[in-house]
Symmetry: D2
Subunit: 205 residues, 4 copies
């Protein structure tokens, strides 16, 4: 059997979700998956991005990461989303990517993707739960199989115990808080996603 194909699709302005995506990649690779880390298309004008030191630096750090396309979705057995919250919901950049997949959706090609999601916010309770749940709601429209981490491993408690998906807070300095706890939680979530995708894949071969 070929390996599980995992697309880690993220949006990052300050670097946090880029980091979460990389940890997910590492975890999934350790579990034997083929992984593509993919960013969504930026909607902000280039001048705005360049005018913000942190945003500019993150953009520079992501310059070799490909922009996700419908082909990546078709390729993938599993998807992990990683986005910062924007008012308790995914950012418009991710929403725009989802909204433009109507063609793929209409032909049934989004069905049975194994999906999981992660997020970040400035505050401890800053919309993390609502943001992940918003992604899962959309994935239900896609006919996806949704695999939140729940409390399937003790490392999840260390990371704040968000059963919907790993979620982190970001300090005023723009740095992720409790990164040492978040890393194993993300890796566990990635491995669990790959494991369930493997079950689905094996049965369909």
């Amino acid at each position: 059997m070929s390996n599980v194909k995992l697309a880690v699709i993220f949006y990052s302005m300050g670097g946090t979700n880029l980091q979460l995506a990389k940890w997910a990649e590492e975890g999934a690779r350790e579990a034997g998956a083929d992984v593509r880390v993919l960013k969504v298309q930026e909607l902000a004008p280039e001048s705005v991005v360049q005018g913000n030191e942190v945003w500019k630096r993150t953009t520079e750090a992501m310059k070799d990461i490909p922009v996700v396309t419908s082909d990546d979705l078709e390729w993938a057995d599993a998807i992990i989303f990683s986005v910062p919250t924007r008012f308790g919901n995914m950012p418009s950049q991710m929403k725009q990517f989802l909204d433009t997949q109507g063609g793929l959706w209409a032909t049934g090609k989004t069905v049975n993707k194994v999906v999981s999601a992660m997020t970040s916010a400035q505050n401890a309770h800053g919309g993390q739960e609502a943001t992940i749940l918003s992604l899962y709601t959309s994935m239900m429209h896609w006919g996806a199989i949704i695999v939140p981490p729940g409390y399937t491993d003790p490392v999840l408690f260390g990371a704040g115990g968000n059963p919907y998906g790993t979620s982190v807070s970001v300090g005023e300095d723009g740095k992720m808080k409790d990164a040492a706890q978040a890393e194993p939680a993300v890796k566990h979530q990635a491995k669990r996603t790959v494991m369930v995708a493997e079950w689905v894949k094996k049965a369909n071969q």
Copy 2:
């Protein structure tokens, strides 16, 4: 491999969710599953139930259906919930059943259950979506694998196209509207749930 074990857990006051549960049972049996149809414990006093003609009749119709226990959850590979909406959320009777499963949950025995849900309301947009989503949110805490129907079959469009789970409306006469469309949608949802549970089960044997 032994058959998939499916628990159809429902609450019904007027008979609609009892009917949905029976259709799920039929669909699942056709897909080869071992099925237990199970009701949750009533919280209303017997006198209140007996004082309402419809409620009394439904209770009478369900008298041979066992009350669900933790053992049923442990037994099950997959669960289909069926509940009427109560103010955009599951009824307290179902919530009480979930809340008292803390012991099972704490020992990890709810993990990897394959879950799907159905609902009914008086109005066409009377909280059906919110009610099903409330069940899935709780199931994420249980480490479940969530399998909504999405738009995986054309019969779903006939039934109002609720991608979260089959949902119906109930007329002022207490009868389910568009039952002829709901029945195949429920059966499809049940078969899909059993199918995914089979994948999970096969991989774990």
Copy 3:
């Protein structure tokens, strides 16, 4: 006391939410409000819009409607949102508008806006509830006062009884179903929103 200032902010591709917005405008004017009907900026390339007959016609019909700005939000005492569902969530175009109001939000100028929302979908249960709830969740981040219609008037039952906000379905011909029932529901919702905004405004003068 000056009149309540209401911003009706909508996104429309097929004309349904343009129609809902106009009904809201009429209802609010009858209740004595100053109303601005405002569209959000399109994100799709002009060529895509022009290549779709319906989308092109709607765009033409909206050409004199101004694109909403932060100034409109600052001006408004109340906001009614109207959007089609996109996978159980607001469309990216609306999300992009919200996401770019961080400046207004950070200065507290979104606080105490009186907010209500409406939606449409292809199917009867096609994400209408989830879409309206997604808007309210974001509005909670804004410190808004949220005023769903509930079941405050019998006309709401005729329109499918969505207590979160008026919601309609769209036929395969692209036409709104049950428009005769939707119109009074929208007008009631608009009047209720204006009424509550008036209470808030009066107390703050």
Copy 4:
């Protein structure tokens, strides 16, 4: 004008939400409200309660607090709910109270209540957001006016910045974490609720 009448309705097993309710009471009194602190009826058998040392102690501490009735809802201009999370949703005890208010609801007596909510969980991201949102969804069915705190005061950031309502975590010792930050957040939320209720009340006299 008579004072705003506020019902603080809570459920508590370990004492945390009892404490949150008392802080809300204090804050609301400082804002000039008439306050009733009210518990919901326990559903667990007395023997189970007595067999758990913490639960028993909390029950003892609440013995003089009246059980909420429909009359309290009718009396109230505003309601603050306070509940622990149970799998990302309100506990069945609170749900049972809401579900049995159908009579009040059907006569329109729940309309225009000004509502806000608070919560607690074991983990930092243990369902707090989802639990508060579940309460607001039900309140939309009641025709309530929903007043989450948003980010209307700097004290909210200290308390984890949950814009939906104050939320706390509970340590393994059963004690509320960061109580010093939670207290002013609860009091601010209570005062804001009373303030908006005052606007509504004034306009209706």
